[in-house]
Symmetry: C2
DNA sequence: ACCTGAACACCGTTCAAGT
DNA sequence: ACCTGAACACCGTTCAAGT
């Protein structure tokens, strides 16, 4: 009990210095908050208490909870894009497989990112993808280099990411708000990473069939 | 204004005959309620008012909102299974394609079923699938007849349904609770049915590659 | 401009009580 | 046994007011 503790036995009158909170601070705080608590249990009063500010302070920077969640999703997406490792492999098949294995692994390991990205954000358009996700743009360029017409390359990417998102959501169904039980029992769909990879292999085999004949035996640049 | 109208100008004292509500009645009522209002906006008090009973009456038959939603999902699933048309086509490729086109079309056209089935229910295990979904059991039997080892047949089914669910959720992202705007502007992912079919074709082509050699030229019995 | 406590209309759920 | 109105502890959001 340090001498600088609260003067009164009740709550401290002023909790934070006045200009000490702002949009980035709130964003950082909510991510910290969500390391202990699932997003579905995030509430504005709870977050305010955690940040040691009044609820209304949050509403000064974010017009609604929706807006806050959107900002979180945006930040999670950027961080996800950046954490995607560089493309590896010579054959387009290997590059594609590694890319989506990473896609899957990064989100499967991070519940919050998975909720924010795979659940909240649907899929992106072609334009959005190539402008905001450099690694995906590289991947698509690689597919074109391998001989895929660009619309086919995009369809391939779309199919694989739709499958990947579907798989992630299968493993991570809508949160039960009243889930006091820690874990111990997965709902039903007993899936393992090998199950995920089967689908990827399957789709890649199909793409090999779709690759125009004249591109089948091309060198790697 | 019929003479049998409420005696008082305020709310009628007793709304319903006493034994007039029960679990099936509530279930029927909530489906009716959800024809006008998205599930995400379903609340227990609202439903009670719609059914013209006290909230507590609902809690007598369903221990929680969760339990009510589970019962809805169960009923929606049964109805979905029954609405799947009989298998058609000679080649396994055609049968598979038609099956998943129907899967997609039935849920794409029915927001409530889509929410209940594609969003709430993850994927089913092999056992659950063949026991509760006769059409899927037929489909899997057909794949085995075509020469697919049974674990490969199941993986094929799982891949296709994961893709289908992913696609449906892409089109139908988490509901905005504050969506007063009727429609007019889809979020971003401009998808058309042809986009869906591309992925199905892609996966089927991959499966053709995976079909054991000795089964390639078999008759249709 | 930034931030506060108190309030509003809601929610899911439960209580004590009626029939 | 079935059902009620009233209450509880919460929620998202807004208000009038403080600095």
């Amino acid at each position: 009990m340090p001498p600088s503790a609260n003067t009164g036995s009740k709550r401290p009158r002023s909790r934070r210095a006045r200009g000490s909170i702002n949009a980035p601070g709130i964003l950082a705080g909510v991510f910290e908050f969500c390391r202990d608590t699932p997003v579905d249990q995030l509430s504005m009063p709870r977050l305010a208490a955690y940040l040691d500010v009044g609820v209304t302070s949050i509403y000064w920077y974010f017009k609604s909870k929706r807006e806050l969640l959107d900002a979180m999703a945006e930040e999670a997406l950027v961080s996800f894009y950046e954490s995607m490792p560089a493309l590896r492999g010579d054959a387009w098949e290997d590059v594609l497989r590694e890319f989506f294995k990473n896609f899957y692994a990064l989100l499967a390991v991070d519940d919050l990112k998975c909720d924010l990205i795979a659940r909240r954000i649907g899929s992106l358009t072609y334009q959005e993808t190539i402008t905001s996700w450099p690694r995906a743009a590289e991947l698509l360029a690689g597919l074109r280099d391998a001989g895929f017409p660009s619309s086919l390359a995009w369809h391939a990417f779309f199919t694989l990411s739709t499958y990947t998102r579907g798989f992630l959501l299968t493993e991570r169904p809508a949160e039960d708000p009243a889930a006091a039980v820690p874990a111990a029992a997965q709902p039903s769909g007993v899936t393992v990473p090998e199950d995920f990879e089967f689908g990827i292999t399957n789709i890649i085999l199909g793409l090999r069939t779709l690759l125009p004949e004249d591109a089948r035996d091309r060198d790697v640049a």
